[in-house]
């Protein structure tokens, strides 16, 4: 059986699902379209890698620190969103990819072009985790992320973020400090993304700046939009589907990405609200966390 392979693919897909859940808070709820999540991902991964390799922490003790660190940097990176809006923000987030890549590549503290090597396999109660063990760990974190997302989707915070995303002036007139909520969204989103990055770093074992490219950010946004912006089930579905899709096309080997790109285009055109978004092809096929109408779907203008 190809157990290890499937587990390994699913580990990565779960990691991406955690990330997309984070992106959903920022882009799905707060409507701050981000094409820079590979940068946030890199920050989580690098934070964890540095803590583990340079500071000598274990996986478990480094993880909370990485998340907090990602969150803190996420807040700083979110500051432009207070001044810049709409498409300008999209472009700014694109810039984050290149800036973070440039910085990790050009400062030896971050390993520079030689990358960071030897991020050890985490162990649990003294035993190193194998493929299966690590998959279970990722899965647990994914469950946790889903739970937190679900819980968050019922809070005032989410309502305030959605209001901020829809119309800032109207939101302010109702007592919502829109700047604060954008920052909250960046913080939460980068915390999720940082967690995903940290998990990713351990499953690869080494990091290179070019692993976190702009193309990856495009993939992340595609995953979210493909699944259904603003929905938890859509985020998870999109991450798994779009990550596994190219794997399914292995048999056509070098035509794989051609088909993938074309399929992505066709599906987004046919299903602009996402497969699981409102009116999506699979809307209603999967169990919904809430009854129809209370969970809102992403069909608004950008930004």
């Amino acid at each position: 059986m190809t157990f290890g392979y499937i587990l390994s693919i699913c580990t990565f897909a779960s990691i991406y699902a955690i990330l997309i859940l984070g992106l959903n808070i920022l882009t799905g709820y707060t409507k701050q379209v981000s094409l820079g999540h590979a940068a946030f991902f890199a920050i989580g991964a690098y934070a964890q890698a540095l803590l583990v390799t340079k500071a000598g922490l274990t996986f478990w003790s480094a993880l909370p620190l990485s998340i907090v660190l990602s969150m803190a940097i996420g807040i700083v990176m979110g500051l432009p969103s207070l001044r810049v809006s709409d498409d300008f923000l999209v472009l700014t987030t694109i810039g984050l990819n290149f800036i973070v890549m440039g910085i990790t590549e050009y400062f030896d503290f971050f390993g520079g072009a030689m990358g960071i090597i030897g991020i050890n396999v985490p162990s649990f109660m003294g035993h190193p985790l194998g493929t299966t063990g690590y998959f279970v760990v990722t899965l647990i974190f994914l469950m946790l992320a889903i739970y937190i997302s679900y819980f968050f989707s019922k809070t005032w915070g989410r309502l305030a973020m959605e209001a901020t995303g829809e119309d800032e002036q109207a939101a302010q007139a109702l007592g919502i400090n829109t700047a604060l909520y954008k920052i909250y969204a960046f913080a939460l989103s980068s915390a999720f993304t940082g967690l995903a990055g940290a998990l990713w770093a351990h499953s690869i074992g080494s990091l290179f700046p070019r692993n976190f490219s702009f193309e990856m950010s495009v993939l992340f946004l595609s995953m979210l939009v493909f699944g259904g912006l603003g929905t938890i089930r859509g985020a998870i579905f999109g991450a798994f589907f779009l990550y596994l899709l190219p794997e399914c096309f292995r048999f056509i080997e070098s035509y794989r990405m051609l088909v993938y790109g074309a399929l992505l285009t066709v599906i987004v055109i046919l299903q602009p609200n996402g497969m699981l978004g409102r009116g999506g092809l699979l809307d209603g096929c999967f169990f919904k966390l809430k009854k129809r109408g209370t969970e809102t779907q992403g069909i608004s203008k950008m930004g």
Binding site: T155, L159, E166, L174, I176, R292
Partner: protein, 271 residues
């Protein structure tokens, strides 16, 4: 002509200090070279409905924006319930109890009617870090939301996304959302625009009910029958300045107001 009005206004100072909820002193707002609001003094009493009228582009909406905090005034002072709010941002003013609607309705289109109201109900809580943890769908909160939805008569569409509502219902939704924020001052920007007479009458009823709850209201309208009937007092703006103030009939008879705003047929509102 202008002078005459100034005199007249200064001649009848209204002594309402104790009941004052909002007062503006010399409020200015400029856009580049354009003086959209150019030194306006105004007061609003408790449970009063103040009509704000004036030609297109007179600066009414701009003035309202400076009161609600969406625009920061370039000069002057605004006091609300004895507190100077001149430099407070909009969301803080909302928490103090200033709620508003918009000339071009701004619903949260993707959210349902109920969620729109919930956002209003959360006014005091928004911004606290605890808002990220607190459930907004507790029974008593939903009940409150339902009461307001009933009051504005939107119960049938409470689970529809707001973007699917027609203008008339949107305006009601906006008012409901503003009321949910539990304001003591409500600013209405042309709530009757785009409504027919029957709907206007319903709306007028709603506005009166709100006033009876003890909420003061500033009302911008171009529909003379609507604003004349509802208002206790009317302020007329022209080119960013206040050119008249007084009871509806006084204002309707003011020759300057007739000239710049009402037109020749203006006299018919005088009664």
């Amino acid at each position: 002509m202008l002078l005459q009005t100034e005199e007249k206004r200064n001649g009848n100072p209204r002594n309402i200090e104790d009941g004052v909820i909002l007062s503006l002193r010399g409020v200015k707002k400029h856009f580049g070279g354009l003086k959209a609001v150019d030194g306006v003094d105004m007061t609003l009493n408790k449970t009063e409905i103040l009509g704000l009228i004036g030609p297109n582009g007179a600066g009414k909406t701009t003035l309202l924006n400076t009161i609600s905090g969406l625009l920061m005034p370039d000069g002057g002072e605004i006091t609300f319930r004895g507190i100077s709010i001149t430099s407070l941002p909009a969301f803080k003013r909302a928490k103090l109890g200033i709620a508003r609607t918009f000339q071009i309705a701004k619903p949260f289109g993707l959210l349902t009617v109920e969620e729109n109201i919930l956002i209003g109900l959360g006014c005091k809580l928004h911004g606290h870090i605890s808002s990220l943890f607190q459930n907004c769908r507790k029974q008593e909160i939903l009940q409150k939301a339902r009461d307001i939805i009933n009051m504005i008569g939107l119960y049938d569409c409470k689970d529809q996304p707001a973007s699917s509502l027609p203008i008339g219902l949107l305006r009601k939704l906006e008012i409901g959302r503003a009321l949910a924020a539990n304001p003591s001052l409500l600013l209405l920007d042309e709530p009757a625009a785009g409504l027919n007479n029957q709907e206007r009458n319903e709306l007028a009823g709603l506005v009166r009910t709100i006033r009876e709850e003890g909420i003061s209201i500033i009302l911008i309208e171009h529909s003379m029958s609507f604003v004349m009937n509802l208002s206790d007092r009317i302020v007329v703006l022209h080119r960013g300045r206040k050119i008249a103030e007084g009871s509806p009939s006084d204002v309707a008879n003011d020759p300057l107001v007739i000239e710049v705003y009402l037109g020749t047929k203006g006299g018919k509102y005088a009664s």
